[in-house]
Amino acid sequence: MAPADFSPIYLVDGATGSAVAAELRQEIGAAQLTDWVTKWQPAVHEIMRELIAKGVPQDRWPQSSHWRWDQKVARVSGLLAHKGFSVTATGVCQGLMQVKLTQSARLPEQHGKPLVYVEYLETAPWNRSDCVPVRRFKGVGTALLTAAVALSEQETFKGRIGLHSLPQADEFYQDLGMCDLGPDPHYPNQLRYFEFTAEQAAAFLV
């Protein structure tokens, strides 16, 4: 996909339920990182201030508040094994995802077969139910996950994907029907690891 290229997609306005035209890009470029700095960060700071002031326990804080997308992108710049994706709506970046193409499946039935591994996936704070009472847009995370599965198909990985979920998102992946391989003992905080099989991926894309 050329830098100026994108797939037109739709999100749902969280307040009105109406469809909103959006763009799915296979890139995390300067425009997206600028939005992360100038729009996401101040919103996260505001949310954290409120959570602290209300005495909300730490396990209910947004679990990616310390992420540095500029560093994540810089670390893999120029490497063929990594790709970035972003969703834009109303001219603002709504979600980011970075994937890795050199990881292998762990599920016994597809063990050792390559998959698209979702290294990081995050939506803008105003789109997260753990940050705001009414989400601005729904469907951003799903759109990015769809992109990961579609990329897996394009790479002839048969749609297989894998990811480590942060605890706040475990339910989403379980509800999607992804295979839950349980807490990963090799990861700090023993994050749960999920995979899509080729069959599950095909059903997801239908």
Binding site: V37, R49, Q71, D175
Partner: protein, 173 residues
């Protein structure tokens, strides 16, 4: 990679998301662990200070940006006048996590004719000693748009903030 699906397909997928949080990610790299680690340690007081320090830092970037623009100068021209590297000026204005060198803050203080110590506090180089300055900084940062031409209101806000920095007198809250 082109994804072609109907509008109805995307809407149905978004509805299926429900109110779930969608997030994925493994352990962070060492650089990210540095900031703001306090938020994950459970120390609320330190976390609160860390968030507040970030507010002052965002205000510092906005302040430098507005002062430069109020002089009608681009980044290169301003950097040359202030005897600074243009890349560092850009980083100060655009990167909320960037902490400048002390020499840079000294040059900015000279260029803006402001007390160096006040700018050091705002930039995050020295520990902020007065909560009032932080509160003023937050209010100032929220009022300033770093992209548009300065409005009359922004010019007034900038002048007021410069007075606060110059005199060291402020009203908290």
């Amino acid at each position: 990679m082109k994804l072609e699906r109907s509008k109805e397909w995307w809407i149905a997928r978004a509805a299926r998301e429900g109110n779930h949080v969608v997030l994925a990610g493994g352990p962070v790299a060492d650089e990210e662990r540095e900031s703001p680690a306090e938020l994950r340690s459970g120390n609320l007081e330190r976390a609160s200070l860390s968030v507040a320090a970030s507010d002052a830092h965002i205000a510092f970037g906005r302040f430098v940006n507005l002062m430069r623009r109020s002089r009608g100068m681009g980044i290169e021209a301003f950097a040359e006048e202030a005897n600074l590297d243009p890349g560092e000026v850009l980083a100060i204005e655009d990167d909320v996590h960037f902490i400048p060198e002390p020499r840079t803050v000294y040059c900015l203080a000279l260029a803006f004719k402001l007390p160096q110590e006040r700018l050091m506090q705002l930039s995050g180089l020295s520990k902020a000693r007065d909560v009032g300055l932080r509160a003023q900084a937050v209010r100032f940062a929220a009022s300033a748009d770093p992209v548009r031409e300065l409005t009359n209101e922004e010019e007034t806000a900038l002048e007021t903030f410069v007075m606060i920095l110059s005199k060291g007198n402020h009203s908290a809250g």
